[in-house]
Amino acid sequence: MPSLKAIRRRITSVKSTGKITRAMKLVATARLRRAQERLLQTRPYAVRLTDMIRQLAAETDMDLNPLLATRPPKRTLVLVLTSDRGLAGAFNANVNKAAWSWIQRHRDTREHIELRIVGKKGRDFFKNRAANVGHVYMDVLNNLTLERAAGIGRELVAAYVDGGYDEVYVAYNEFRSAMLQNTHVERLLPLVPHTSDAEALQEHQKPAATTVDTIFEPSKQAVLDAILPLAINVHIYRCLLESVASEMGARMTAMDAATKNASELLARITLQYNRARQSIITTELMEITSGAESLKG
């Protein structure tokens, strides 16, 4: 049986771990709420933008715009969104695995697949694997701004337009609830005007009164060219926000479980401590009484 002192030290350490995990859970909860609010706020913008793009794309020649035109996929870029910090359950492992299995599945049909990674956890995962890792973006999810997302978007568009890449995918965690995150690997470029579902697309193409006698400045094509990069930026921004929300949700759940485990463990070792203390007292009493007995004799 461990000594009283060792058990006491253990109790202190478990207590402080419990305090830390509880604090981390609270922080994650607050940050999750903020990320969800920001996700909601992007919605009106994203909806207007994609609606407009869908409308314009239907009325112009899609092959004229490089961001819309599809070419046979030979060289592919995959953006993987992970966090810099761990202790978030399976958040990072899931998205890394999803990206990795996607690469293995599509390797044979592509000449070259390059990775761009957001977050330290993604970098560490792919370091020891046979993957071409290009740029790694650090410290993005901790302090996410639209400028940062737009900067990544600009680099991806540049790689796609001038860098000889034929398609760009993004692998990320979609936030469903604190308990559930879905990983997706979805196409970013060439841009799908809103939905790949042909039927849904047709249904949306009701004759829109808005473009019938609308003046376009400078032209339909030019307006479309101008707003397409914004759609890429907001798409990346949304994926990053989904990742932040997922990370915080996963951390909240993980830290909640850790706090529960800590209190269970604490109860167990406190019991052990009391037993040890009691047995020492009993031994001492025995010694005293047997000493007194022997003096009598």
Partner: protein
């Protein structure tokens, strides 16, 4: 007319306005009630919303488009929209100087991507200063 200004961080303005001036890529467009349906791509620049009975609202807008849906319904969809009290004067000034130096020192070809990014930074910083100058 009803005006809505939408950005990725939320709806920045929604309300009644008497006039709008927006920086389109072809030059500033003025919009009054009853304007024809219009769809114009925006550059980085100063937009002004005239609100009845109030000081006009000067705003930084950054790209996107202005859409006159019908004569009395206008929406501006832009990546960034700031009014004067959202801008830090000291930072705006420093940014402007830094951006100007970066653009002048740039060896990149005019209208290459890198050059355009620097040009955009200068435009943005300049517009911020203009909005600050319009502070009531």
């Amino acid at each position: 007319m009803q005006v809505t200004i939408v950005t990725p961080v939320g709806v920045k303005f929604a309300g009644d306005a008497a006039s709008i001036t927006a920086p389109s890529v072809m030059g500033d467009v003025g919009i009054l009630p009853g304007h024809r349906p219009l769809m114009a791509a925006l550059r980085t620049g100063l937009a002004t919303v005239g609100i009845p009975g109030q000081e006009p609202l000067h705003l930084v807008v950054d790209g996107g488009y202005v859409h006159v849906v019908s004569g009395d319904h206008v929406s501006i969809v832009t990546e960034l929209c700031e009014n004067w009290h959202e801008i830090d004067a000291a930072k705006a000034k420093a940014d402007h100087e830094a951006a100007t130096v970066a653009l002048q020192g740039s060896r990149e070809a005019v209208s290459s991507l890198g050059w355009l990014v620097k040009r955009h930074d200068v435009d943005l910083a300049e517009t911020r200063l203009r909005v600050l100058a319009s502070k009531p």
